[in-house]
């Protein structure tokens, strides 16, 4: 991927696909490191699937049953000397408390570090495509932070205006951008 924000989009799409009512995206940035965490309360994965998703070569099947998104993300973090972790509780085994957490830390001064890029665009794209899902976004960076909770937006708009409406998406984009420039 050209930007880490595209990895975030890809990873968060999995959360939506796992029917997560809420997907949390946290970015914690210091001068030297950047940590991305995507946490959802979707259907989760069993141990068997969990083992496969981080290793693109694990499967012996000829048709690709497991994707490349998570291995990509892991590799990109580890290439910078950073770390990657994934944990998941499947709905089957943990009916009351299930979901997935993926976290990766990148070393920003490594030459293989990929810039974060346009996270605002990642958030508006996620919301435009999945107006029924909720997203909690929190980016803490040196000198400031940006925050968005679609549950708050939903409450203001009421049940009749979908979050995917052009005016709403545009507002969300501007709302987030402003938090980056005013810091």
């Amino acid at each position: 991927m050209k930007e880490l924000s595209l990895n975030i989009l890809d990873i968060a799409e999995n959360s939506v696909k796992a029917k997560a009512p809420l997907t949390e995206i946290r970015i914690d940035e210091t001068e030297k490191t950047l940590t991305i965490a995507v946490i959802d309360n979707g259907c989760g994965m069993t141990h068997e699937i969990l083992k496969k998703v981080t290793d693109p070569f694990y499967t012996t099947r000829t048709t690709r049953k497991v994707g490349l998104g998570i291995p990509f993300f892991k590799m990109e973090a580890e290439m910078t000397g950073g770390t990657f972790s994934i944990s998941s509780k499947s709905e089957k085994e943990h009916p009351a408390d299930h979901g997935t957490r993926i976290e990766a830390t990148f070393k920003k001064d490594h030459i293989d570090y990929i810039p974060l890029g346009d996270v605002v665009s990642t958030m508006t794209t996620l919301i435009q495509g999945h107006p029924e899902s909720d997203f909690l976004f929190h980016h803490v960076f040196p000198g400031g932070e940006a925050f968005l909770d679609t549950r708050e937006i939903r409450k203001e708009l009421g049940p009749d205006v979908p979050l995917s409406e052009f005016e709403v998406i545009t507002w969300i984009g501007e709302y987030l951008k402003e938090q980056y420039t005013s810091n």
Binding site: D10, G67, G129, D160, E174
Partner: protein, 123 residues
Amino acid sequence: MKSLAELQAIKDKMKDKVVLREGSAQKRVVVGMATCGIAAGARPVLNAFVEGVNKEGLSGEVAVTQTGCIGICQYEPVVEIFEPGKDKVTYVKMTAEKADRVIKEHLKGGKVVTEYTIAAFAK
């Protein structure tokens, strides 16, 4: 500083529009947003459709939606256009610039941009 209270104004403005619009979008633009699509540049293509459809005043008749893997990774970003009574049109290797042309010529003008379709690339 923007505040959540501004959403109230959007809500009031949208009320009539939403009722009017419900189920009226006849054409569907579907952008593939799986790993392969995203890596190939689907995000700016999606945004170009979302913005362009609105700018051209087509939001009442065209719905822009996202889907997972369409299954032709080598042609990503892939965009499918569905119109009632017509065959599906599959545009491949899309960019934001190509999206602008598809909006103006196909969605607005009713003429398929043949050179961007999968049929033109598969030759």
